[in-house]
C-alpha cells in the first residue's frame, strides 16, 4: 500500500530542468529518506509533493488524492517541518499552535486537548506563553514538529529537520518520531545531509542527483550496490565528489533590513 505515488514528475525553471521525469513511491507507515546533494532537486520535489509548486508534467498521488486536482484533501493529509523556520516569531508558542489548529479547522475542544498534549510531548508546556522569538533553535524545531502533528497527518515531511540541533535534541526528536511512527503508523518522509542519521532511521532511501533518481533501496542495498561500507561512501560513490552550488536568495539582505525596522 503506497501513501505517496510519484509518476514521471518533471519541473523546469526556464531552461533548467530541476526535476527530470522521476518516479518513486513511499509505502504507508514507513520512514523514508530522500537524499541528494544541494541543488539536486530535493526541495523542488518536496514543494510539488506539498502543493506549494505545480509540476510541468507527471502525477503525484498522496493518500490517494491527486496534488493538483484535490489539493485541499492532500493538504489535510500531510504535516510538514520546513527546512527554514516557519513560525511567527511575534506570536507565542501556544498562539502558533492555535493558528495552525484553526487553519486546519479542528474543533475547539479537540484543538485545545491536542495542543496541550503535543506541547507536553515536545517539553514546551511551561514555555507555551513565551514569544517564539525568545526560543532557541532546538525549541523552535520542537515546536514546529508539534505543530506539524496537530492535525494528525498521515504523512509527516521533515526537510532537514536536525540542522543546527545538538545531539541531545536530535536524539530526543528521533526517538519521538520513531515512536510516533510505530504507534500511529505515521509515514515519515525526511531529507537530511547527515548520512548516519538516514542510515539509522530510514527503512528505505532514494537518492536524487541532477533532477534524476540515481539509486533506491535500503541502506544495505545501496552499500552493496556501490560496494562501500557506509552510507556516506555509497552516497559519494553515487553522486560524485564535486561541490554543488545553490543559487542564493535575498534573505541576507532582508535580515539586515529587518533589523533596521526594529524586528528581531
Amino acid at each position: 500500500m503506497n501513501i505517496i505515488q510519484v509518476k514521471n514528475l518533471t519541473k523546469k525553471f526556464d531552461d533548467f530542468t530541476a526535476v527530470d521525469n522521476i518516479s518513486f513511491e513511499v509505502k504507508k507507515g514507513e520512514i523514508f529518506a530522500f537524499l541528494g546533494p544541494n541543488g539536486a532537486g530535493k526541495s523542488t520535489t518536496i514543494k510539488m509533493l506539498t502543493t506549494l509548486l505545480r509540476q510541468d508534467s507527471g502525477e503525484i498521488m498522496l493518500n490517494d488524492h491527486n496534488t493538483l486536482l484535490d489539493s485541499d484533501a492532500v493538504r489535510c493529509s500531510f504535516g510538514i517541518v520546513f527546512q527554514d523556520p516557519s513560525l511567527d516569531d511575534e506570536l507565542t508558542a501556544y498562539e502558533n499552535m492555535e493558528f495552525h489548529g484553526i487553519l486546519y479547522d479542528l474543533p475547539k475542544k479537540i484543538r485545545r486537548e491536542r495542543i496541550a498534549e503535543l506541547l507536553k510531548f515536545v517539553e514546551l508546556s511551561d514555555r507555551k506563553n513565551s514569544l517564539v522569538k525568545e526560543f532557541s533553535g532546538g525549541m523552535k524545531r520542537r515546536l514546529e514538529i508539534a505543530r506539524g502533528l496537530l492535525h494528525h497527518p498521515k504523512v509527516l515531511f521533515l526537510d532537514e529537520p536536525t540542522i543546527g540541533l545538538d545531539p541531545q535534541t536530535r536524539n530526543h526528536m528521533w526517538n519521538y518520531l520513531q515512536e510516533l511512527n510505530k504507534k500511529e503508523g505515521t509515514t515519515i518522509f525526511l531529507t537530511t545531509h547527515y548520512m548516519e542519521e538516514a542510515d539509522r532511521i530510514a527503512k528505505r532511501i532514494v537518492i536524487i542527483d541532477h533532477g534524476k533518481i540515481v539509486a533506491a533501496g535500503t541502506s544495505q542495498e545501496l552499500k552493496n550496490q556501490t560496494q562501500t561500507n557506509s552510507l556516506e561512501d555509497a552516497f559519494l560513490a553515487l553522486t560524485g565528489k564535486t561541490i554543488r552550488e545553490e543559487s542564493g536568495s535575498g534573505i541576507d539582505n532582508l535580515r539586515s533590513m529587518r533589523k533596521m525596522w526594529g524586528k528581531k
Binding site: R75, C76, E90, Y104, G250, L254, R258, G262
Partner: protein, 249 residues
C-alpha cells in the same frame, strides 16, 4: 470565516506587540503637523484660506494611514522570506481567504494608527466641526487603509525581497501623498496640472471624504469620494488576491 478571523487577529497581535513600530510611525506625522501646520499657518491665513492646521490634519491622518497600510501589505515579503507564509500556503484554506484576512488585519492596524494621529492632531489644536461625524470619518480611514493595504499586498506578490522597498517609498507612497491635496487645496487657484493629477489619485478622494466629515468642506462631493474609494479598494483586493493566488513559495 474563521481563517479570515485568525489572520486578522495575527496582524493585530503583531501590531500591538511591536511598540517601536507604533511609536516610530508617529514621528513623521507629528513633524508634518508641527512644521507645516504651524510653519505655514500664518501664510495660509493671510492668503484668506482660513486655518491651515484644520485643513492639514485630515491630510496628515491620511499620510499615516497610507504609510502603515502599504507597509502592512509589503510585510507579505517578510512572511515569505522568513517562512511563515509557507505555513499558511500548505494549509487547506483558500488563497483568497488568506489574502482577505491579511488585508483586513493590515487595514485595521492602519486605521488604529490613523486614529492615534487624529488624537495627536487634537492636541496640536485641530478641532472637528461635529463630534459625531468622527465615526463616519473613521470608516473613511478604514476604506483608505483597505485600499492601500491591498495595493501593498499586490506589490509584495511581485517582489522577491525588500530591495525594491525604497523604490516603493519614493515612487509610490511619497507621490501619492504629496500629489493628493493632503497638504494643498484643490481649488481654482491651484495649478491645473496638480489638480488634474490629484483627480487620478485615489487618496485625494479619501482625504476629501475625511475633510467633509471632520471640517465640513469638500471638493469632490461625498458620493464621488465614497464611490471612488469603494471601487478602487475592491479592484485592488481582487487584483491582489489574483496575484497572490499565482505566487509559488
Amino acid at each position: 470565516m474563521k481563517t479570515i478571523y485568525i489572520l486578522w487577529l495575527r496582524q493585530i497581535k503583531r501590531y500591538l506587540r511591536s511598540k517601536s513600530r507604533i511609536f516610530g510611525a508617529l514621528g513623521q506625522p507629528i513633524l508634518f503637523l508641527i512644521a507645516l501646520g504651524y510653519g505655514l499657518g500664518p501664510v495660509f491665513q493671510k492668503a484668506g484660506e482660513g486655518n491651515y492646521l484644520q485643513f492639514l490634519a485630515p491630510g496628515i491622518i491620511g499620510m499615516s494611514i497610507i504609510f502603515t497600510s502599504v507597509f502592512s501589505g509589503i510585510e507579505l515579503i517578510w512572511d515569505r522570506q522568513f517562512g511563515f507564509l509557507k505555513e499558511t500556503m500548505v494549509a487547506p484554506v483558500s488563497r483568497f481567504n488568506i489574502m482577505l484576512g491579511r488585508t483586513i488585519g493590515g487595514a485595521t492596524v492602519a486605521t488604529f494608527q490613523g486614529i492615534i494621529v487624529f488624537l495627536i492632531s487634537l492636541i496640536a489644536g485641530f478641532r472637528p466641526t461635529n463630534f459625531f461625524l468622527i465615526f463616519p470619518a473613521i470608516l473613511v480611514m478604514f476604506l483608505i487603509a483597505l485600499l492601500f493595504t491591498a495595493i501593498g499586498t499586490a506589490i509584495a506578490t511581485q517582489l522577491e525581497d525588500m530591495q525594491g522597498f525604497q523604490l516603493i517609498v519614493n515612487f509610490l507612497i511619497m507621490p501619492v501623498f504629496f500629489l493628493s491635496g493632503a497638504i494643498f487645496p484643490l481649488n481654482n487657484e491651484s495649478p491645473k496640472v496638480l489638480v488634474t493629477i490629484a483627480r487620478f489619485n485615489p487618496l485625494s478622494y479619501g482625504i476629501d471624504a475625511m475633510r467633509s466629515f471632520l471640517i465640513n468642506t469638500s471638493h469632490f462631493g461625498m458620493l464621488l469620494n465614497i464611490s471612488v474609494l469603494l471601487s478602487t479598494a475592491l479592484f485592488f483586493i481582487l487584483l491582489g488576491s489574483y496575484l497572490f493566488s499565482k505566487i509559488e513559495a
